[in-house]
Point group: D5
Chain length 164, copies 10
């Protein structure tokens, strides 16, 4: 647990987030908590929680109360900034194409496998899409003697195209 | 099984692929085969096979022979166009941001969940990336009474950043 | 009814569509039919039909048969090009921002009213989106002595954001 | 009704709006009013009102007086910032293509249905456009057992192209 | 009058126009006619006529007949390509920003004088725009001993912004 | 005449202008003067004056003195910021393509009529351009029972291309 | 003198030029002539002549006759393609930023020295520009024992900004 | 000599330069010195000096001492900001394509004459480039009764391409 | 060793880095240390160290302690800003294409030699890539009487493409 | 050695190269030669040779003769297309940012290590650049039990910035 921790709030992506976001990240670092630990405390998954830290999801009022508690920050300030009146302005956290290699590799998956994924979805489901709204995202660590592996899963509802 | 089938070879993405690619797609349609059926015939996964159809992966010489056989097209023509001398020029099949809604949703996953995925990878693995080279991609259909779901999985090796 | 009609198939958007698309447009012109008349003949709405002409929707096999009939073109050729093996590669028909004033005005509606629409959707429905997949689009003419009006309606399912 | 509420005024879109805009949004949140309630109080529609909050429309002097009253903020400050000398600098509130999924879906409607809408407008009205200046925009909620629907309507004057 | 004349139909802007457009330009050159002479023959202004040559305006059926006559080309071919079924797909003839110095100077007028023009329009007319649909464009030559001057005039209807 | 007036100096275009520019706009609002009234006071045209307010033209020393006088602001401050050492850094006040509908319509005139204007200039003047440096710009109001019209005129010197 | 010579007419920049341009370049290669030799034969400078070969300048009728003669190609074909009816569509020959290192260095001169050149022009001439229309461009070789030097000169008329 | 002078240090290009740069420009204005006068005082050419003011060149330690002296500003502050540890981050001072007409004309020279210059360099020197690193840039005023001319010269070393 | 040194922390790339980065660069300048000297003090290579200064690599806790020591800055402040909770957000330090000539030349190596490097890697290693994650970068000075040479080496692991 | 081999000459990068380039690649495949073997036959390095195949370097007349010989293709056709009159139009072979993962990793090296490389070059050499013109590029295979490594070396002349 760090005694003090700051994030570069004048840098991206923090500069593009509500000021309270920097406070959330700093409290997380000071408390020495993982996303998973915080997520469990408020009854959510770690990826969803991390997305919410980055302003990409909306906490309910109850979740904000629990969040303030687990992070030891005033409830009022999270309610004031991320309360019922706040809505995520999703995306827009960094450049596209991404310059960070971790995020770029995700982008590259669209470049290289996008058409294949589309073709197989059509073949298996018909004309429609995998929803990115009704979609759960998950990252797990798969130990492997040749080098651990990241297993990233998207579980999204199939939406058939309307015809009218 | 269609008696005849053509793909718009002067349109994207076909226009950006070797001419043999259109022939592969047309043979697949004429034979009424799924990617999975062709993939099984040459001992590969359907997503890898579909990627190879879109010029995003390289068939071995043995795979080309089996491919020609299962699709009933002359071996010589696939060897001539996609043989040992041919190397994938990956990516570049369509615009970025994608305009097709299926592919755009994948792109949107990077916009919305990219930072969360990166943060959790760092927390679980340290400073490094999920490889998109040593990575297997999979699409499965998960039946659900509220609407079937697409489960899309990336299983990629974690690569720690070199320090020297 | 024109005796002959051609569309500039080497120009956008025709050049970005399957070759059969030009044939559909030319047959429509030769037959002197409106989108509405063709749509009625195959049991669809005119906007959906027009979208399908522009390669933005997928005809079923039955619809292709009726289409060929109403347009007096060989069924085989539409089946060959737009049959079960063909999937729309949506979007990508023209530049964005659009240069054509009709389409630009739609784009401008996003620029000027996008945030207001988003804010009111959130207020009325909560955190989620209006689906553009399960969405019906409609254009009607509203006579007005000061100048007729175009009434353009999108009727799309609200999709709440998944939380997990 | 929140006791306090803030919006991230150093973030987009607030950072691109006159400083008074953040005050309007915060007062709305503190008063617990909907766009519709505020709109009714000044005799306007909710979408127009929301657009004006986002700097996309111009309040008349009388509307500013009523707005200050319903929101309990000093008339002088709204007059000082949004008075007769202020003109909307429309558009430019966020990136294009939009990264927020709500707004992106509107953008996608242009990608997918733009040409169809243009073609049907031409067929029904002739050579011209749907005005986005003399246009009213409306969002309503249509209850549906399979999931409520958003009905978004644009009612714009048809403008025939000048010939001279 | 040239005996033969060709335009580079595989180059922009001709490559982005219906094939008949190249024929119109070549006939004009062969006949040695100015835009003004052709325009007069069909009862239009030279700028409108030139715009129509560049696919930016729609000839009526009567105008096509007269056009074919004055240019000595078959009526059928202009009717076939530019008849009732053809609608202008405006804009998109060249890169933006323009690279050609003549067109770039027009673009530069927007860069340098755009805000001033907007401010004066607001001051003189209120909140609204100058229509580019109900607008007539004119180019005249003003002799001047220090060098002749180009007088370019846009005469467009003022459209006040709708409030609702 | 407003008692107080402010412009959003942290917003575009003000944020891209010298700080004194905001003071000029605010003084103009407080004094209740039009561009035309200020222009007359310093012996210039209103469009030129408005352009200078937007940092697109250079006041002479005498003009700065008169400007300070008519706006009731200290001469020293305009001389300090816009004096002999200041040179316009023209353009760059907003995005291109413009998002504001007023300015976009000017941009659209280049898209739609640019080639026609170029072609007629060549036909009337030969190979060269209309100067946007030695060019006077003018906006007038033309009353019309069907709706007043904006008449926008560019009067620019023709410059023949050098040959050497 | 080569017996045969071809240029890749399906590649840039040839693909963006009138077909006759490839013929000019090929004739030049076959005849073994330099730009300077051809230029002298038609009474022009080599840079102007090279620009004309690249479609960036307009030959007079007399110059076309001499050009055909010196290159031993039919006068009719140059008249047919580049005659009185042809006007340069300048710029647009390659990507910007340029990818070719020779042209990129010119572009880099604008990046690095553009503001300095502007500042010195203002200091020496006042508010205005160096014309790129009334401008002569010259390249000479300056022998230097440490490596020969390229001397590139632009001699352009100063144009003072209009005030009105 | 102005008693006070400021430059808009929150505007481009000043905002993209070290803070000391604004101080240099303001001191130059207060002292009433030209670039040439300052350049002579430190033994350099005026274009090089102006480039250095714009952060595009590196002063030696001795030059900084002389510069502080001629501009009457503390040596310590220029050493502190532009001393041995400071290296130019060249380019990036403004948008590309440039919006300012003076700088745009330079950019236009690349568009219009870039290929001609490249072709003549190749013809006179072989396969290689004109260095923009070992290059001297010069602006002189050439009086002309029809209007003074700007003569802009680049004198750069020819660098042949390595072959290995 | 400078007594004082500052870097333009409101300029790129410093403005895009954590605030502590400016402090690191300033301490390095004050202490008069090279990257190599600092790198040796913490047991790393100079290029890796320089990359870490630019926020492109992650210091371990031990390295931060040594870094603070060698630079004479408080350990707490580097731990607070660059400690365990901080992860590099790589890339994004400047525009692409780069405008700085040093960095542009690296970019140009990709433009000119990228395909050749890819082709030779494929020929020597098969279908795969050179890792930029498991890669060491080195810059050395090779004295040469005709001018010293920069030898830049990338030593990266070959990663074969997964097939599955 | 393949009996027949073709490359997709209508795809990038072949479509952007002279037609002879496809013939060179096909002959290389038919003869079963590596770049290294061909390079040795004409006395050059394999990377240079590969670059020349991709149109990024210029063969001398003698090299063309040897090339034709080793590839068993007519000397006349390479002389006709790539002879003395042909000059490389470097760069422009594919999109930037690159979409192919091999080439993207090179691009990523600029993103991640560009500033570090620049800083160390300045520290070791002073103000200047590493030439990409007088630069030799080399790829070697370094066997490694944990996976072979690609060693990519750039050996470029340091060019100090001119001061004048």
């Amino acid at each position: 647990m760090a005694e003090a921790a700051s994030v570069p709030s004048n840098n991206r992506p923090y500069a593009d987030l509500p000021p309270i976001s920097a406070a959330l990240f700093e409290a997380k670092a000071r408390k020495g908590l993982t996303f998973d630990e915080i997520a469990k405390a408020i009854g959510k998954d770690e990826i969803w929680l991390a997305a919410a830290f980055y302003g990409q999801a909306k906490f309910s009022s109850e979740e904000l109360v629990k969040l303030a508690e687990v992070l030891d920050i005033p409830t009022a300030s999270v309610q004031n900034e991320l309360g019922a009146h706040w809505w995520p302005n999703r995306g827009g956290l960094g450049p596209m194409p991404p310059t960070d290699p971790v995020i770029y590799r995700l982008y590259e998956s669209v470049l290289v496998y996008g058409h294949a994924i589309k073709a197989v979805i059509h073949e298996k489901f018909g004309d429609g899409i995998m929803s990115m709204i009704d979609c759960k995202v998950n990252v797990t660590k798969k130990p492997d003697p040749k080098g651990d592996r990241v297993v990233l899963t998207f579980d999204g509802k199939f939406l058939p195209y309307a015809k009218w």
